[in-house]
Symmetry: C2
Subunit: 327 residues, 2 copies
């Protein structure tokens, strides 16, 4: 198949290589023509994945019109840019072209899941969700990666699973496109919490408790939004949470870690090229949870620390020393 | 309350300190009188937790008869020693004294959960399960630790929760004593699998997939044995799994890691003082799963590697590259 990749960040590059290894023709769009040219010539994404040889390497473009003839598009731009990207793409995509959403997050302001943003801008488009525990670097290196692929229509899903899958990139299929987005959006907030705990040297026991409670929060929210428990306990939920909360390679975890070590939000964000989704997602997650009557104490504490200037030690203490209760 | 701790290993010592911080009189029994004396005099468990000052420090004994007047006993000897310990204790405990099982594992040979071993030897005893993500060292250091405490009778459970809990040691109560044991017993097998993957440098994505699939296996087995999903998703299930599979401080994970690096089972075990529960548990878990008709592919692969001389790379490849399927 002809696969278009919209976005040439770290994960976009990884998706491009996965699609190439699945035996497809792959064209990756980079907003920046210099980056597009560089990837083509140097077989390296110097901006987002420097030092890693890309093998194989996709066709590169910086013209959205080059994506017009694709059989499917993988959307891998930052969550907050999706709406504008879709508007820009609109003239070039047929209504039957599936859009596979590979970014994670919730649109701030509207609180929408990314599938809801697509439904808003391109209401007739087929939607897929690709999400799971996947550091881009490892996928690029062709190390084993298993992800959830969700499409409402099972037949579409099966086709896409076979298209994108290869020996070491394993999509597992489900039809729960709502559930498959919750983990990816909310785990970044949990990763910030775990990073803060780590920065404050609270220990591994505390972190494991946060992960457990974190999945409980994710599950409560996901089910209230119409997702399924099984999806939330799967690769896109628990899997992604376990990965993100256990490695300082995760941007959100390292963001929390630096906060825990005493840096300010402003300082940390000013040092970064790549987007720290969790920072933007926290408030959106909380307001969505509130409207559904779902309690999310860890998200609330992260929001208090990020946006309300709460003292970190006091906030974490409140979280970890809640009254004795039933599990 | 007067609390007796049976076993003076790393976790026994941690339980003793937690009980002391809960405001109780605590007596810890060590089989070895030299160790008992040493802990009393040096305020340090030189054998199992060298270099860590114990503050506070429990009363020490090596006579089981000193445990006769306790209001509750915490059982913290290795799983495979429990049956003999219970027989030895029998003359000294009243039938109403609760036994809180703090060790993790399954009895080899019988395939029994530890609560089932108690029912076998001391059928009238009240049973509690204390289990969750808890490195002994951190609990001794009074860093935040949250665990599941399961007792069938809620009133008994509430009393024990208040007795053992303190500011940084937080037991969460449930009544599911079966479910609360499954995670602790099986996670050691999963940790060996994750250790092997880590030793083979398969990457973080693969490890997160193993953790996710691992919880699915634990959950299938737990529910077939009569446990509850909520317990398995809680601190004693997911929490303990997440902790154990993400740190080389875990004995089982480091055991797998060394296997992955090419050492043999025999070499690794001969270098160790402390028990590697997972090594003994794997076969017992599998035979129990088989009798219940539960599929546990990760456990099976670990068993093949440990006990059937399977090639590690081939076995892991079979596990990670299973056919495309539904999640």
């Amino acid at each position: 198949m002809k696969i278009g990749i919209v976005g040439a960040g770290a994960w976009g590059t990884a998706c491009a290589l996965a699609a190439l290894r699945g035996g497809n023709d792959v064209t990756m769009w980079a907003r920046n023509p210099i980056l597009a040219k560089e990837i083509s010539e140097k077989h390296e994404n110097t901006q987002y994945m420097a030092g890693l040889k890309l093998d194989p390497v996709p066709e590169m473009t910086s013209n959205l019109s080059d994506l017009a003839k694709m059989s499917a598009l993988l959307m891998v731009t930052p969550a907050q840019a999706l709406r504008q990207n879709l508007k820009d793409l609109k003239p070039y995509i047929a209504p039957e072209t599936p859009l596979i959403l590979c970014s994670k997050g919730i649109e701030t302001g509207t609180g929408m899941l990314l599938s809801e943003v697509v439904e808003d801008v391109l209401p007739t488009q087929k939607i897929g969700i690709l999400s799971g525990p996947s550091f881009a670097k490892e996928t690029i290196q062709n190390r084993p990666t298993a992800v959830t692929l969700a499409m409402e229509n099972k037949k579409d899903g099966l086709l896409m699973m076979k298209t994108l899958g290869s020996a070491y990139f394993r999509p597992y299929l489900c039809t729960d496109i709502i559930g498959a987005q919750i983990g990816g959006a909310v785990k970044n907030v949990m990763a910030i919490a775990c990073g803060i705990a780590h920065g404050r040297a609270l220990g591994e026991n505390a972190r494991a408790a946060l992960i457990t409670r974190g999945l409980a929060e994710i599950t409560r929210l996901g089910i209230a939004m119409g997702g399924k428990l099984q999806t939330l306990m799967g690769l896109s939920g628990l899997g992604d949470l376990a990965l993100t909360c256990n490695s300082l390679e995760s941007r959100n975890m390292s963001f929390g870690y630096k906060l825990g070590k005493g840096q300010t939000v402003k300082e940390i964000l000013s040092q970064r090229k790549a987007v720290t989704e969790g920072f933007y997602t926290t408030t959106a997650v909380l307001s969505r949870a509130k409207s559904l009557g779902v309690d999310m104490p860890i998200c609330r504490v992260v929001d208090q620390i990020l946006n309300e200037n709460y003292d970190i030690d006091e906030a974490m203490e409140n979280l970890l020393n809640r009254p004795f209760s039933l599990e």
